[in-house]
Symmetry: C2
DNA sequence: TTTATAAAGTAACATTTATCACTGTTTTTG
DNA sequence: CAAAAACAGTGATAAATGTTACTTTATAAA
């Protein structure tokens, strides 16, 4: 079933490559909230998301702020960047919901990159994707106020999780956006009046 | 002399590769302030900085904000990411001072990446470097106030240009940090009192 | 040297965001 | 069910940043 996923997700991969990946990688389930990469750790695997959703965030000044979310077919590619140079991860990644990840050992990844341009190409595309995601986050922070960022955040999350009813606390939102709970509460009220969202008990409905 | 630069800067490059680069690339001088990449343009070259300094910035909501600076040996690597997929650049790059850049044609770059792992490796390292620079910028914006960001900005610039006396207007700083001139003036005064910087006529001295 | 022009300084005020201190409301659990 | 714990709502106030409108100063140009 890994084979099926790989063939579908990376149609350019040669059969031989897919077989090798199948052979040398581990499929691991991460429960919602479980750490996949922890900032400061050394990394031995390149994780590829088979299904589920991963949240990538960064800690600085005791603030944990969201960088972006990753979906099926994407990898925590920058963990690879670190491995490559024996450095520690400068971000964390946790399962946003129960997720299946394929863990490719780093030495094999290096090998495949040299041998298979199709593999190299995927790695490069992933690099690019992440850079763009991060750039997008940066734009948001600089150019938009919290109201707009919160709307964007909730809509992104709804899309990502495939539901309009989000089970998320104001505290968690506040962490992701690098602000405080009270601020989120206040803005949520504003947005409720504007009928962009609706606080539905302890859940948030994105309209 | 390109050969000398390439050999020195990328010691892992094979002689053959260096010769090919020498043969197929153009050395171009960019005057201070001249555009190297313009947001929205399609790109045909991968620029490598031989000497000088390049400022990379992004426009959103009619705000031009600084992403990071590039120095000798680095390339505007994300211009390559775009070429690769026939997309438009989502950032601009201008010469921060008179700079010599080596322009490698994209089709050749693709070719070298497949043929020479040493070349591929440099590309990957550049990707990583830029991601880290951008991540650093993002951290700055989220976790530090303008006072601290201004100090960091001025120190970085002083280091980059190799001088403690910066010829830069408050307006330009404001643009780079995504704020307004008046705000920079105000903070500059605060920092002058703290003796971190000194406004020396129309120049700024970093202490 | 005068004049024009661009840059910088600044006061006053507006807005946004942060923080504090507390209350009210769910949800969980013993 | 009652108590505890977690979460949410809110007023008051502070701090940071943005905006307006104007003055002053430095540099370039006539």
């Amino acid at each position: 079933m890994n084979t099926e996923f790989l063939t579908k997700c990376y149609p350019n991969f040669e059969k031989e490559l897919i077989q090798e990946i199948e052979e040398h990688s581990i499929l691991k389930t991460f429960k919602k909230g479980e750490f996949i990469v922890k900032q400061g750790q050394y990394i031995r695997f390149l994780p590829i998301i088979q299904n589920g959703c991963v949240k990538v965030f960064c800690n600085e000044q005791s603030i944990d702020f969201l960088l972006y979310f990753l979906e099926s077919g994407e990898s925590c590619i920058y963990s690879f960047a670190h491995v490559n140079n024996g450095e520690q991860a400068n971000f964390s990644a946790i399962a946003e919901r129960d997720s299946h990840l394929l863990l490719l050992p780093v030495d094999k990844v290096k090998f495949w990159m040299k041998k298979h341009p199709s593999f190299s190409s995927i790695i490069l595309n992933n690099y690019k994707k992440h850079y763009n995601d991060l750039l997008n986050t940066t734009k948001q922070i600089i150019c938009y106020n919290l109201d707009d960022r919160l709307i964007y955040y909730l809509k992104t999350k709804a899309k990502l999780l495939g539901t309009h009813l989000l089970s998320i606390s104001h505290q968690e939102i506040a962490n992701d956006l690098g602000t405080s709970r009270e601020v989120i509460s206040r803005i949520m009220k504003k947005l409720s009046l504007k009928e962009v969202v609706k606080q539905d008990g302890r859940k948030i409905k994105v309209l």
